[in-house]
């Protein structure tokens, strides 16, 4: 079984060598293991997940490039509205993707908070704007019978995937990895 790497790059030694100038090094499986481990770590390590700041009450279509072995992802997003303004309940944030959203039931629907009328950032200088950070659901249900708040599925592959998606009612978001394959040898 080979799992994707969870290596933390903050302690990366950027200059050292595996064998280097050691004279007549003994043949060792340890060297081979070190050589493979760093390549495996880079190949399977997750990428940083970019945070986007914008202003869209409507829909925005974008794509994320996700590293190999990812099978589920979620969205951390920002909503903003004017606190206390008149209006009915906010529309929920809807998320669809190339791999999740072929039918209406596949749409990931994240409930909204219930104050205000606007989905805009407070860049206009409004003094009473409310910024709300939310995350789409953690539940795994790849074949929902009805729209729900859940993880978005992705077909696992042994190379990175460009996953297109749309998101509505948001002023910022970040796609992040929620699940990866447990055994790369099965892909």
């Amino acid at each position: 079984m080979r799992k994707p790497s969870k290596r933390d790059w903050s302690d990366l030694d950027t200059t050292s060598e595996i064998i280097g100038e050691l004279a007549a090094p003994p043949a060792s499986v340890a060297y081979l293991g070190q050589a493979e481990a760093i390549v495996h770590s880079v190949a399977t390590a997750p990428y940083a997940c970019c945070g986007h700041m914008y202003d869209a009450q409507g829909e925005r279509t974008h794509a994320a490039i996700l590293p190999l072995g990812v099978n589920h992802w979620r969205v951390a997003f920002t909503r903003c509205r004017i606190h206390g303004s008149a209006g009915s309940q906010q529309s929920p944030t809807l998320i669809t993707s190339a791999s999740s959203g072929a039918t209406a039931a596949d749409v990931v629907t994240v409930p909204a908070q219930t104050v205000g009328t606007y989905g805009y950032m407070d860049v206009t200088g409004t003094t009473d704007a409310v910024v709300k950070h939310q995350r789409s659901g953690a539940q795994v249900d790849d074949t929902p019978a009805a729209t729900k708040d859940r993880q978005l599925e992705l077909t696992e592959t042994l190379r990175p995937t460009v996953e297109a998606y749309t998101i509505e009612q948001s002023a910022g978001h970040c796609v992040f990895i929620a699940g990866r394959t447990q055994d790369l040898e099965t892909l």
């Binding site: 903050s10 950027t14 280097g20 760093i38 390549v39 997940c49 279509t61 974008h62 860049v123 978001h173």
Partner: protein
Amino acid sequence: MTIGSPTAYDVIPAAEFGLVKIGNVLPRILGNVNYLYMRHQPSLVSVIYLTTENDTSDPVYRIPIVPSADGLRYTFRHTTEDSGGGSTVVYTVDEYDSGWNTIHTSAGQVIASGATDTYEHTATISDTATELRITIGSSGDDITPHGLLVYPDPASVPTGTQPSGFVAYDDGILGTTNNPVTTEHVDRCRQSAVAVLRDRRQMVVSLVQDTGTARYDTGDMNAAAVTLYRRIGSTEVWLPGGDCTVDVYALGDVSSGAAGKVRLVQVAGDNVELDLDGTVHTDTLTLKPDGDGFVRLDAYMQIPSGRTATLRALVAYWRPGDAP
């Protein structure tokens, strides 16, 4: 001799270590080194435009970049929505490299009424380029640009030592039975993997708006609140690993007088303040992710007195291994 790359990552079962000859496994590891050059593809640019809806003005976006030292080919993925009645859109991509150079111009992309269209192409970005400029010409049709994704997509594995430090593997030495395994072959795995990892910076936050008619500027804010800072954006970011530093870049301008100011702040953490004066400014921000890897970032602009400041781009790049 052949320099190849597996089309997908070659998973080497752990059980193979120690049970086979080093000369049998090492070529597979080195093949994966070549794979890394082709398929280590974190996004150089990932932007959702802060943009005017139903825009007829041919918006122009400028994005500070830190491209690969190897002068790589990248894939660009533009997404634009027609606001009604259909549009024909021409994308022009320029890089700033001691002057503006056009690296791609599309044919007219027809977008059906109300539809959202994605246009994809490749272009090589110079290793010394410092900005991208994206122009979306619509000849007066009303459009809403959605976003841009740019990621490394090399056409082939190059020969020789690259400026990044990457050295490709060719099968000329290890490909023949009983040929020698040198220490350099073993060290090359680490050297090249780390070189690729460090060379391809990853965008971690973005806020970009039109350099012509910006959606917002400080003139939209409460004029009585001069010198105060107003939040103009907020997002979470996920980082793989612990504390790190990122390089923050800002581009903006001010109608007159002293420079405007923009701040990027980790909530309950470090912050940087950069000038908005018509040129790109940069500084280093230390980020401390929470236990799940998340960082919450807010962007603020200062409201200048009697003048208007406009932010055109605020982006940050992470390079794995850059620790505070």
